[in-house]
């Protein structure tokens, strides 16, 4: 400890000018190396993401059906007007927001609980515990969606038989025939699948909270709850916000679970499924592109709000700037 303090206090006084020149050279070299390493990936990223985005923006200004190429017509913002004036869009936006808010909140609470368990587990069981918690996250979403679907399906499912002692559940209960129960299963599947991801992010945040702070609070007579809410959580705010942003962006684009379980029927359709059905199903490239652009702007808005309003530091304490 003392040596690091010494070296850091000595350096600015005695070697400042030389160090400055050296750092500048090093930074230049590092930047060059950085571009060399990341440049090709950056260019490929531009090609595979920027090009489709620009193409979608362009297509969204046309009335264009893939199977009627001769009828392509410039409609400017007409597609956007159609989308915004349709109640289906707003209903789907509502479903998407509901799924985002509910899943992120529940995952945050469960993820924190799991992170605390993993953090305080004794060393011998830590590895096993982390592996066990990570299993759902390792399963492909489509596979997990099928597993949940077949478990709850009225024809092939076993849940109705196992839980027929719960009021309202019985062999004749069709989970996927109405909005409420269907969305509940979709969200439960989503939560089961991605809570491990949140818990890992939170665990890394938890590990960064100095143990002394907690210890000092304990000595001062703080209860476990007080230590959690007054010491641990405020000190891991950055990790929590990063977890929330990642998951919110992910949850807003939910597709697989709905596609497999209900195909969006009975009020369970999210925006990404509407974009898919319009572009790929109906082959209405113009209208579908407009929905995709709106979805993209929504995702940008979430990211922008998180970074600017809640000051989420995705680069991690300003390092690497």
């Amino acid at each position: 400890m003392s040596t690091t303090v010494d070296s850091s206090t000595r350096a600015p006084g005695t070697q400042a000018p030389k160090a400055k020149r050296q750092i500048s050279d090093r930074v230049r070299a590092e930047r060059k190396l950085g571009w060399l390493l990341a440049g090709p990936a950056f260019i490929i990223m531009l090609l595979v993401t920027l090009y489709p985005i620009v193409q979608a923006l362009y297509d969204s200004l046309f009335s264009f059906r893939l199977t009627a190429p001769g009828d392509k017509e410039f409609v400017f913002l007409g597609n956007y007007a159609t989308v915004f004036s349709d109640s289906l869009f707003w209903q789907n936006l509502g479903v998407t927001l509901l799924i985002t808010v509910v899943t992120v909140l529940v995952e945050l609470v469960l993820g924190l609980a799991l992170a605390l368990v993993m953090h305080s587990a004794i060393k011998a069981t830590r590895g096993l515990l982390r592996t066990a918690i990570l299993v759902p996250y390792g399963i492909i979403t489509v596979v997990s969606a099928f597993a949940w679907f077949y478990a709850f399906d009225i024809t092939t499912g076993y849940v109705n038989n196992w839980f027929d002692w719960v009021p309202g559940i019985g062999p004749d209960f069709n989970w996927f025939a109405s909005q409420g129960p269907a969305l509940t299963i979709i969200m439960a599947s989503e939560i089961w699948k991605t809570t491990p991801f949140i818990s890992l992010l939170l665990l890394s945040g938890l590990a960064q909270v100095p143990g002394e702070l907690s210890e000092a609070a304990r000595v001062d007579g703080a209860s476990a709850w007080q230590r959690l809410t007054k010491v641990i959580l405020p000190n891991m705010k950055a990790a929590i916000m990063v977890a929330v942003v990642f998951r919110a962006l992910d949850a807003f684009r939910i597709f697989d679970n709905i596609f497999i379980m209900t195909q969006g029927q009975y009020g369970t359709e999210a925006l990404s499924l509407l974009a898919y059905r319009t572009s790929i199903g109906r082959l209405e490239i113009g209208l579908g592109s407009a929905i995709s652009v709106i979805l993209f702007l929504c995702v940008m808005l979430i990211a922008f709000t998180a970074i600017k309003v809640f000051k989420v530091d995705l680069a991690g304490s300003g390092k690497g700037r």
Partner: protein
């Protein structure tokens, strides 16, 4: 020093080995491409999933061509709408591998209208459709012309449990009506096998009901977006009454809102099974289940079949029509050979072989006379009669829009009432004009 040099050398060695491996792989790929050029031309046949029947026919036709061509099959997705999506995207992109395609009849107009399908030569049409049944032949036409060659044709029958029909006092040797089977299910406390999920099967049901009541969902389908939606008629109301009654009274069982062809078959095979409208695959599937031991033989013995139920007692029903037509892509580089291959694929012999082995009925009248067909499908004559009376689904390039709108408005079945036909008509009109999302 030694310690630092060895890994570097090892790395260099690895790099050289990787480069050699890459060069080798590229050479093999190039050789593979080269060798393909030297053999007979390869025709790609995009097939819908089946029990291997189309792949067998592809092999037989390749062998019969004496080295003139070789047919390779490429599997399309499982459901009809996904098959359409893939075919349309490839055709729109000018994919030159679209030599031969298995096409679901309702989607033929959409692909024919923009010129994605090659026009069949007159002599091919003459040779392949001389004994095609009327229903399947209509499904292969667009704008009055044959644009694809009928391969196999499908239709729904009324499947029933003999014991239930007997208990309900129904004489199944005579045509029965929807009202009669609804009453029978009610009195016997059984479930009707219908498809109430938001999928193509819903449109199949509604179209069958409307056509059986003497109506049509649309007229002037060739007008595309300007087609007349004629669902808000007496026929539409009758269809809504039947769907709504089954839905509201729970006669389709608790699974009705999510029930497709397969799950309605499973329900039919259970204790609550009574009457079911479904495709002939249920016969092969039920017998297969008996062979596997998952179903009792007595169940199959209890299964009877008849013509699709009537809506009006005095008018014959117009059962649903399905099947597969074979088309050739306009961008195919081997169109002449492709048509030659199509002629081989759709011969009555291949159609009857396909029916006997894969359970998909022929579109050719002659194929129904085959002894193997009669043995595998005791209901072959009923299927043939049903195909003669079958009504195609709306023929329009905008079929997908019309079908999806019907699916959304007519599900769940318990929500269907006397206003549904009117609301569906208004919704379809809005969608076709581009004023509404779907």
């Amino acid at each position: 020093m030694k310690a630092t040099h060895t890994p570097r050398r090892a790395r260099r060695g690895r790099r050289i080995r990787s480069a050699v491996a890459l060069a080798g792989a590229s050479a093999m790929l190039l050789t593979a491409c080269g060798s393909q050029e030297s053999g007979p031309p390869t025709l790609t046949w995009y097939i819908n999933p089946d029990d291997g029947g189309q792949a067998t026919i592809a092999e037989q036709c390749s062998a019969a061509s004496d080295g003139k061509y070789k047919i390779e099959t490429s599997l399309l997705p499982r459901d009809a709408s996904s098959q359409r999506e893939q075919l349309a995207r490839r055709l729109a992109a000018g994919d030159t591998s679209m030599d031969i395609m298995s096409l679901d009849p309702p989607f033929v107009p959409e692909l024919a209208e923009p010129g994605f399908l090659a026009k069949p030569p007159a002599d091919v049409v003459e040779r392949t459709t001389s004994d095609t049944l009327d229903g399947p032949l209509e499904g292969a036409k667009w704008d009055g012309e044959i644009v694809a060659v009928p391969f196999w044709a499908n239709t729904q029958l009324l499947w029933y449990r003999k014991s239930v029909a007997q208990a309900a006092g129904l004489d199944m040797s005579k045509p029965v009506t929807w009202d009669q089977i609804i009453d029978a299910a009610r009195s016997q406390d059984k479930y009707l096998g219908v498809q109430g999920t938001q999928a193509e099967s819903m449109t199949v049901w509604v179209n069958g009901l409307v056509a059986s009541a003497g109506g049509e969902i649309i007229t002037a389908g060739e007008e595309g977006q300007d087609a007349d939606i004629t669902l808000d008629t007496e026929a539409g109301e009758k269809a809504a009454d039947i769907v709504g009654t089954i839905g509201k009274e729970g006669l389709g069982g608790p699974g009705l809102p999510t029930q497709d062809e397969n799950s309605s078959m499973i329900q039919f095979q259970g204790d609550k099974g009574s009457f079911m409208v479904n495709w002939p695959f249920v016969w092969a599937a039920s017998n297969g289940a008996v062979e596997e031991g998952s179903l009792d033989k007595s169940l199959v013995d209890d299964i009877g079949w008849a013509q699709w139920p009537r809506v009006n007692a005095d008018t014959p029903s117009a059962p649903p029509l399905g099947g597969i037509n074979i088309g050739v892509g306009a961008t195919s580089e081997n169109q002449d050979l492709a048509w030659e291959a199509v002629e081989c694929i759709v011969t009555p012999e291949h159609q009857s072989q396909y029916f006997a082995t894969n359970g998909n009925p022929p579109s050719s009248a002659k194929a129904f006379d085959d002894a193997a067909v009669r043995e595998a499908y005791p209901q072959a004559s009923v299927i043939r009669e049903s195909l003669d009376n079958a009504a195609p689904r709306p023929q329009t390039p905008y079929y997908n829009e019309i079908s999806t709108a019907i699916q959304q408005e007519w599900t769940p079945p318990q929500s269907v009432n006397e206003n549904t036909p009117k609301e569906t008509t208004a919704f379809i009109e809005q969608v076709l004009k581009g004023d509404a999302l779907l």
